[in-house]
């Protein structure tokens, strides 16, 4: 005892130091650097950037627009997500597994790909509408190039998020509360309205806050739908200013990114306040309620669910595929005009596109592997640590992901604009700055399922190893890692899929030679090459969908709740 205790202590300190270092470098440092730029530019206290920003009417309009599309998108996502969660959770509808997979897929597809797909569906060049002869005449604007279009797509993009949160909440609803209402004589609709909905309110408010933050921070959808209509939101305004002014305007856009950050934080705090005020936490462990038998309404409801999936998933993907198969803008898709030239072009001919494949794959794999190996010790300290500051630790891990990606991108630019001190290495204008931002942003995607897995493991398994004489690092390697590895690896796959087609961060950080798939899709579309953008997007969607199905094969070995698309 006398000998091993200090050694055990040393390993524990080393582990804590490592975890703290990861969080300082990837979470606190970028955020502090951003704040410093706002109030202490160049080391002197100054509110000049704040004053300049507040005096700019364009900034005000973009802020208003961000709030409007954020609230509109959130409202739509809530209606859709809650409705589907109630139908899947409370009725005896069949094929829920496939339904959930399809309904959640939009969340796994990058927003700019969603935007592109819908544009192909509705525009005057829509191959699908041409097929039926109902396409608007060439030259008319696409109806999606509007605030309404942005809201609609944000709603569709994030309704799976609402669905997942509400569904998880409904699983924790004890069935006795529902059965007591049934025994009191309440029919299905009254039970849903007076018991389940009120009990789910905190969960729904939480989902709303999460969705609002995602909508406000979204870049892909307003970039594809808003920029052509000159309807700017904060992330697209930052992009335009930075693209036009370069590093010189960094201080100004830093302020814009702080506005987004403040709006996002306001959403998070509002939710926190509300859930504190009305604490409906249900403590008893129980089974979820029995599903309601729909009887003769089952088939119609199932058909309308299939129709919903067709509208939000199948149709846009069809639009994407058809555009990717035509020779040019406005050309009808027939057996004569169908072509795979676009795919050949993006896969083999276009240099930037080929580079982007290499870059995005290397970045995603690197980030995923890093995330898996960091998630295990970080999760260990967060889930099983006892100290008070642990709570703050988990909050700071969440920060770079909770805040919109634009905020992190600007922070990374500020951090690495100048060469690293002492080392003299230049990260700016290289692929490494994107890697840093990805590491900071996506780490939490693997930490969350890992912490979740720790919570499901009996701590005594590790304590038994401790009693058997194993030191901390030995225990981590031989006991803990094998136990949480499935969840951590599933988290790593989520990281990979998200990073592969990421646009928000790389749109601001990319440089020639360091393009990502997201950036190349965006450039094609901005340059009017929808067919190439569609072909590239179709490839990305195919990879995403295949990975989802592939991971599904191992789903039985994973702790519950790790894969979002599995019911």
């Amino acid at each position: 005892m006398g000998v091993s205790a200090p050694e055990g202590q040393g390993q524990r300190m080393a582990l804590t130091a490592m975890v703290v270092a990861v969080i300082v470098v990837f979470s606190l440092m970028p955020m502090l650097r951003l704040l410093q730029e706002i109030v202490l530019p160049g080391g002197h206290f100054s509110l000049a950037a704040v004053g300049k920003g507040l005096g700019d009417p364009v900034v005000w309009r973009a802020t208003m627009n961000s709030l409007v599309v954020g609230l509109g998108g959130t409202a739509l996502a809530l209606v859709l997500g809650v409705l589907v969660a109630f139908i899947v959770g409370l009725t005896d509808i069949r094929m829920t597994q496939a339904l959930v997979l399809c309904f959640v897929t939009p969340l796994m597809i990058a927003p700019q790909v969603t935007a592109l797909a819908w544009l192909q569906l509705f525009g005057p060049s829509s191959a699908l509408l041409h097929l039926f002869g109902i396409a608007p005449p060439l030259g008319t604007p696409n109806p999606l190039y509007s605030a309404g279009g942005i809201m609609a797509l944000l709603g569709i993009q994030y309704s799976p998020l609402v669905f997942l949160v509400v569904r998880a909440g409904m699983r924790r609803l004890p069935r006795e509360l529902v059965e007591a209402a049934k025994a009191s004589g309440a029919g299905p609709f009254r039970v849903a309205g007076t018991i389940i909905l009120p009990l789910m309110t905190p969960v729904i408010v939480g989902a709303a806050a999460l969705t609002f933050v995602s909508c406000v921070g979204n870049f892909g959808i307003p970039a594809f739908l808003g920029i052509p209509a000159n309807y700017l939101v904060l992330p697209t305004l930052i992009f335009q200013r930075l693209a036009g002014g370069g590093p010189a305007v960094l201080s100004d856009v830093a302020f814009l990114s702080v506005i987004i950050g403040v709006i996002a934080m306001a959403g998070i705090f509002l939710q926190d306040f509300y859930s504190r005020r009305r604490d409906f936490r249900i403590t008893t462990a129980s089974l979820p309620p029995e599903p309601y038998a729909l009887g003769r309404w089952r088939l119609p409801l199932e058909l309308s669910m299939i129709a919903l999936i067709a509208v939000i998933l199948v149709l846009p993907i069809c639009g994407l595929l058809m555009t990717s198969l035509v020779r040019g803008y406005g050309v009808m898709l027939t057996t004569d005009t169908i072509t795979l030239d676009n795919y050949r072009f993006i896969l083999f001919e276009h240099a930037a596109s080929r580079r982007a494949f290499l870059n995005s794959f290397s970045l995603s794999i690197a980030v995923a592997i890093f995330a898996v190996f960091v998630a295990v010790p970080v999760g260990y300290v967060i889930a099983w640590g006892k100290a008070r500051w642990i709570k703050w630790l988990s909050v700071s891990v969440e920060l770079p992901y909770a805040l919109p990606g634009v905020v992190l991108a600007i922070a990374s630019l500020l951090l690495f604009l100048k060469p690293l001190p002492v080392l003299g290495v230049q990260l700016y204008n290289t692929v490494w700055i994107i890697l840093f931002a990805y590491l900071a942003r996506f780490l939490v995607l693997s930490v969350r399922p890992t912490v979740n897995a720790y919570a499901q493991i009996d701590r005594s398994l590790e304590e038994a190893a401790e009693v058997a004489g194993a030191r901390l690092f030995t225990r981590l390697r031989t006991i803990v890692f094998p136990l949480v590895a499935p969840a951590a690896i599933a988290g790593g796959i989520l990281v990979f899929m998200t990073a592969l087609s990421e646009l928000t961060v790389s749109a601001l950080l990319w440089s020639s030679g360091a393009e990502t798939l997201g950036v190349v899709i965006f450039s094609f579309e901005q340059g009017g090459d929808s067919k190439y953008a569609s072909a590239l997007s179709a490839v990305v969607v195919a990879i995403t969908f295949l990975m989802m199905l592939g991971v599904n094969l191992f789903a039985r070995k994973l702790p519950s709740g790790v894969l979002p698309w599995r019911d």
């Binding site: 209402a181 309440a186 009990l199």
Partner: protein
């Protein structure tokens, strides 16, 4: 309520097998059994939360469940008191109680009156505006009781309502349930695994095991005249001991030899000497034998002092695997390892080969 031939299968497993019972209006029936015996399944089927595989359930003369036909729970006029209370946390106490009245579209004034009445019945007057979370466990249970009685249900189901309460509260809630039943005259089906609870409250007890009803009878009958070995062993750790029968039944008794000791046993009508007969003896049927009294020798295995009395485990020399136990008041003459001579003072001859019994 009448249940006829009720069977429930989950996949290949029979959770309930051919259960039949009748609850008379105003009766308090306890369903007692070890965990996993099917009693909760039975309750959930009566409430309509589970469908029936075979058989039928009738409430107030109306069939509510049979294969392929189920009246939904909200139209069965039942009340349930759940183990975890199941009070809705987003409603006040009064809203919880008044929910079923609101569902039944009772006017607000009438509703208020009946809520007040229900609150006073469970001695919670003036607590209507409190939230369930601010109440103690016993108060929550009383709110749950008020919630279910306010709707004046045809049948009230209790699902192990005292399992979450501490010992003292349990005793006072038992009194409360008994008073509630006496006052309202409601028909009650009370699920429990606690024998003392069932004995204290019920008019009749249905003992269940492995999805079957083992015996359905008044508490005294269950205790003194168990219908089979399962009931004998389950109720108060009864001892089941082989006997040799010497005479047939006459006036409710017969003569037999138990561990070599001649004895007069209580038995059911028409018993005649047979092989393999067993007797159920309670701890109070055993005592140390006086000098020259017929009895049997053996060894004291264990003395567990319980304050004022000790529970003594004893292995008879003739059948060392049998565990005979009895209660010895202070002063304690025995220690583990001592030799002793005991005698039986009575017992109940368990009827032959019956799996189920209705001796009500």
């Amino acid at each position: 309520m009448t249940i006829r031939g009720l069977t429930k299968t989950f996949g290949a497993v029979d959770a309930l097998k051919d259960v039949s019972l009748e609850v008379k209006p105003g009766e308090f029936l306890a369903v007692l059994g070890p965990s996993g015996c099917g009693k909760t399944t039975l309750l959930r089927m009566i409430a309509g939360f589970e469908t029936v595989s075979f058989g039928e359930i009738e409430i107030e003369g109306e069939v509510v469940s049979r294969p392929g036909y189920e009246v939904p729970p909200n139209r069965r006029r039942i009340g349930i008191v759940f183990q975890n209370y199941a009070l809705w946390p987003h409603m006040s106490v009064a809203e919880n109680i008044g929910y079923s009245l609101k569902v039944a579209k009772i006017a607000a004034g009438e509703r208020k009156r009946r809520i007040e009445e229900a609150l006073s019945v469970v001695s919670l007057s003036g607590m209507g505006d409190r939230s369930p979370g601010s109440l103690s466990g016993g108060q929550r249970q009383r709110v749950a009781l008020a919630r279910c009685l306010v709707a004046e249900p045809a049948l009230v189901l209790f699902d192990e309502p005292l399992a979450n309460l501490d010992v003292h509260l349990r005793a006072s809630m038992e009194d409360e349930f008994a008073a509630f039943h006496k006052r309202t005259g409601t028909t009650v089906v009370y699920i429990t695994h606690d024998q003392a609870e069932a004995m204290a409250l019920a008019d009749r007890i249905a003992v269940m095991d492995h999805g079957r009803i083992m015996q359905l009878a008044a508490p005294q009958t269950i205790y003194h005249e168990p219908a089979n070995e399962m009931v004998a062993r389950f109720i108060s750790h009864g001892m089941v001991i082989p006997v040799t029968m010497r005479t047939s039944e006459r006036n409710g008794t017969c003569e037999a030899d138990i561990l070599g000791q001649p004895i007069t046993l209580r038995c059911s009508t028409g018993e005649a000497p047979r092989s393999g007969a067993v007797v159920c003896c309670r701890a109070e049927d055993v005592r140390p034998a006086k000098d020259n009294e017929p009895g049997f020798d053996g060894t004291i295995k264990r003395v567990v002092y319980q304050g004022g009395v000790a529970r003594i485990d004893f292995a008879p020399a003739a059948a060392p695997d049998l565990n005979i136990h009895f209660v010895q008041p202070d002063p304690q003459p025995f220690a583990a390892g001592d030799s002793a001579r005991l005698c039986f003072t009575g017992g109940w001859l368990i009827p032959e080969n019956t799996q189920t019994g209705n001796s009500a």
